[in-house]
Amino acid sequence: MLAPVSWIREYVELPDDVTTDALAARLTALGLKLEAISRTGEGITGPLVVGRVLTMEPEKQKNGKTINWCTVDVGDANGTGEPQGIVCGAHNFAPGDLVVVVLPGGVLPGGFAISARKTYGHVSAGMICSAAELGLGQDGDGIIVLPAGAGEPGDSAFGVLGLGEEVIEFEINPDRAYALSLRGVAREAALAFGAPYTDPVLRDLRTGEAADGTAYPVEVDDAAGCPVFVARLVSGFDPAAPTPAWMQRRLQLAGMRPISLAVDVTNYVMLETGRPIHAYDADAVRGTLRVRRATAGERLTTLDDTERVLSPEDLVVTDDSGPIGLGGVMGGASTEISASTTRVLVESAHWDATTMFRTGRRHKITSEAGKRNERGVDPTICAAAADRVVELLVELGGATAEPGTTYVGAPPAPATIPMLADLPARVTGMAVDADTTVAHLEAVGCAVSRDGDDLQAIVPPWRPDLSDPFDLVEEVARIVGYDAVPSVLPTPTAGRGLTRSQVLRRRVGRVLAGAGLVEVVSFPFTGEAALDALEVPADDERRDAVRLANPLAATEPLYTTTLLTGTLGAAARNTGRGAPGVALFETGAVAFASDVAAPLLGVDRRPTTDELEALLAAVPRQPLHLAVVLGGVRENAGWWGAGRAADWVDVVGTVRDLADELGIEVRVANDQRAPWHPGRCARVDVVTADGTLVPVGHAGELHPRVVARLGLPARTGAAELDLDVLLGAVPDAVRGPVFSTYPVAKEDVALLVDAGVAAGDVERALRDGAGALLESVRLFDVYTGTGVPDGRKSLAFALRFRAPDRTLAEGEAAAARDAAVAVAAERTGAVLRG
């Protein structure tokens, strides 16, 4: 909302010493938030005057441009009274027009000093100005042509252009629609300074006497959608009558474009009162005006020349020809005011805000009228606003007011809100007594009756937003002043601290960062192409993504099912920016589609247990995942020697180390899954307390095609784990270990197995077979080559044995070793080597 200060002051007698800054600050404290203060004509000094073009000679130039050599009457402003010779490149004017001239010695915004200078073969003594050159707008396609009668040649143009005007731009919250008018802003200014206020809709109207009778036949079929419809008619309107400069200026200052007198008047009255007005060319309207809901499929071409297919929820104004307007939102093209309109039918109607909101959204129309109608307008001022329009059309357009006013319907009764007088104090913590409460409610326009501690407040008609006692509390509080709210710390009961999951997630982050990985946060948006790039098969559950109805990018309509889309993207970005290696991790929720609809419940009570269950069941499953990507340089080369590139061992090792840090036992098995290398992919399972295996994710080297496609370093590896599962397996309390201090007995074995046998299986067999004396097993070498037959491999394990209560006797460790090898032989075909 752009509010010219002079316009505000027209309705409120602010002391002269109230600066615009102070006014804006006080209004901000009351809830009309200052966005900006602008002052028109800032940077203009020296002679800026009204001039009348006497002659203009077009002269074609060698560069192809045509300039006009003009003589301009600037009165006595040039000291001689002689016409001023000025070269002008614009063409949107004619001899006789009033223009704005800056004379030599003047300075325009940006420090642009004007002097008489030789150009195009003439001495140009000044400049005819465009709005852009004066800093008044972006319209650079011509010079300003003032309305006839705007001033006399030689008059200062400052007043005519409204320069030096201060305009406050407010951000108006949805609940304060009344402040989308000068009437409302001035009311708040009066409240802020305790200054006398004149309500512009209550003044005597100079031509508003014809109140009785019917101006035009109107029928309202839907009184809920249109509670009040007022119509008035003027005839003999001069369609050529210009909008007076003062009105154009105020419209411009308020951010609206002057169009034609009839349209400008309706906009002016809307800004003044907050009540949107529609004007029809009465000669284009056929028969009775009717307000009804549209029928499905009905069509209407609106003022913006868009043909719209209507919904049965839209409110339309019709005549005998059908819909001629989208009520309260936008008029129709067929009855639009034109350059030949002489009879103007004025509509000032109150519309149902919800319908306005829905229609505006449905047809994607944002208009000044719709903005006000959907937030709520004072329903009691329809007639006053219509009268005001008529008054201005008569006064400025030479029209005659036709007798009668059509008034259909009645404004809804204002709400009465009961409230306990101490509620503001109880809610705000400020000391606010009952008298203060009553006084402040009255100050915002409420009629308050009081019976002991019980208050009844009838809200003013311009405040449809006030419906609950707490709304009234805010009104009282903002007048007392939010600065008066004391600062008191609440005293909660003892809290339980962070949850186990929250603590563990911090630990996961610290472990991985400590291992040299950098955390990234990616957008979860993805598309089929990204999943294709990862070679995720069509029947994979990761194709079962939540789809967005209105994605930002058509190529990314999905909420991702795998963090790798984002983390690998970040890896590729780092690689593309020259990082020699990437070591990244990311945690976040992924989601899987749900085809269950969520109920839309009522809000007047708590949902029942069943309703709540149904609601929560419809929310898509969103497990928390962890992704790890390691590729390129993992250890730098340096003066100490060669570096090392990351490989699958780093990835699987990172996962195992993380599990160890969390006290979780995991088991790793060979698996195949996109986007991993089919021969270098590990499925990771968590071993739960009862020994069952729960899948937690995959780790390994990425498929070389994926690596190449995404532009990652060769042999980049990745892991993706379900953190919910992983963290769920963390034991609550670790049991303190008991260990033996007797000597250890070491036994190494080298076993020959088929190349396809998993070392993990052999290790498990050794473990199972070695008995209670086994302390640890560790694979320390994998060998193929000389001495090992083709298709076989040699696995070398170090076994450590120890008894809890004694030194092992000669041969005990060897016997246990043999037992271990026997089980390995049985399960995996292992043969003791050499």
């Binding site: 909101f357 960062a513 290696g581 708590r606 340089v633 340096g638």
Partner: protein, 369 residues
């Protein structure tokens, strides 16, 4: 080993003569003193104290002496050996010290060479920032509540007094999941977590809800379709706006330093009534609006205050929809952007830095902030 031989004349046992022992001792001490390093000293030790050393050989002869002479000779030899041993130990100590000193010099390296064998890791500032916020509230006895980012429309909007036709819904441009008739959205704020908490817990409730949220904003230096919020909710008997102010003042001081307080401006949020915008004293100029050089403060653009978030008293309609008795309980709620808070706390000019994943951005913040 010779047995006692009484027939020997003691003077005939030359090595045990005093002069001979003295000579051996002196030779040994001289050799010890002459040893230039630990290797030579080791050789000297063998030669003068070993089994074949003159003193050791002389010692063997004691048994050949008549008993009356043994004591003298024994003492003489013993004194000499003791003296040699002491000289050896002393020399050993000196030479070891010399050796150590020399080794330390020889082992000197250029400590300025690179030591970055392995690249460093880091946690994301949005993670550590949210943890810092959480710690402030946990220290006050609050708990940290979380919920799904893809959420039922009813929990994201309706339960929070944002009915389907509420104009404020257009203030939060929403990602809808397909089909929209399923009434599931990407949450536009973390408020549904508050609704879930009220629906599943019994007051008093003191929770902070950090998390990622989504709006259909185009991606630029100050807007992102995904960003992070922390919201707070307190529901208890006798809660007022004053408790809200106290909590936010404490939060501001914990995040930005002592003396950084807040101010309220009337505003509008459907979730709260009365509602307020909360501003923060600019922590750079501390409200003076000018920086150290006397120029307009860049952080607050000369306003002395920074817009921080929104807050207010929980609208009783929300309490009703979420099953909290509005006659018994009141509450307050607030919300602010974590990304935005970090942007001005750390002078980050472009929001996109948080989401690009460039490790140079993230590593600058280390593992805690």
């Amino acid at each position: 080993m010779s047995g006692p031989n009484n027939s020997y004349d003691p003077v005939e046992v030359t090595p045990l003569k005093a002069e001979a022992v003295d000579a051996m001792r002196e030779a040994a001490v001289a050799a010890i003193a002459a040893a230039a390093d630990l290797g030579q000293l080791k050789q000297v030790r063998i030669e003068h104290t070993g089994d074949r050393s003159p003193l050791a050989l002389a010692n063997r002869e004691i048994g050949a002496l008549p008993p009356q002479a043994r004591k003298d000779a024994g003492q003489r030899i013993g004194r000499a050996r003791g003296e040699v041993a002491r000289a050896l130990a002393a020399r050993q100590e000196v030479l070891e010290a010399e050796h150590e000193e020399r080794m330390l010099v020889e082992e000197t390296v250029d400590v300025t060479v690179a030591t970055d064998r392995r690249p460093r890791g880091a946690r994301h500032p949005l993670t550590t920032g949210a943890e810092r916020v959480a710690d402030v509230f946990v220290a006050m006895g609050w708990e940290i509540a979380e919920g799904p980012v893809i959420e039922a429309e009813w929990l994201n909007f309706d339960a929070l007094n944002l009915g389907p036709d509420h104009p404020a819904r257009t203030m939060q441009d929403t990602f809808w999941t397909s089909p929209p008739e399923n009434h599931v959205v990407l949450r536009t704020h973390t408020s549904p977590v508050q609704a879930r908490s009220m629906l599943t817990r019994t007051p008093p409730i003191y929770i902070a809800c950090p998390g990622r949220v989504f709006r259909t904003d185009e991606y630029d230096a100050t807007h992102s379709p995904m960003f992070h919020q922390v919201e707070g909710l307190a529901i208890d008997e006798g809660i007022t706006m004053a408790h809200l102010k106290g909590t936010l003042d404490h939060f501001a001081a914990a995040m930005f330093g002592e003396g950084i307080t807040t101010r309220f401006r009337p505003s509008y949020f459907p979730f709260t009534e009365p509602s307020a915008e909360v501003d923060l004293v600019c922590f750079v100029c501390r409200g003076t609006a000018v920086d150290e050089a006397g120029d307009t403060c860049r952080t607050c653009r000369g306003e002395g205050w920074i817009e921080w978030g929104g807050c207010g008293v929980v609208n009783p309609r929300v309490l009703v929809a979420c099953g909290v008795d509005p006659e018994r309980y009141t509450g307050f709620a607030f919300g602010m952007g974590i990304d935005r808070t970090l942007m001005f706390r750390h002078g980050v000019e472009d929001l996109r830095g948080f989401f690009e994943g460039d490790v140079r951005f993230t590593t600058a913040f280390g593992t805690e902030i």
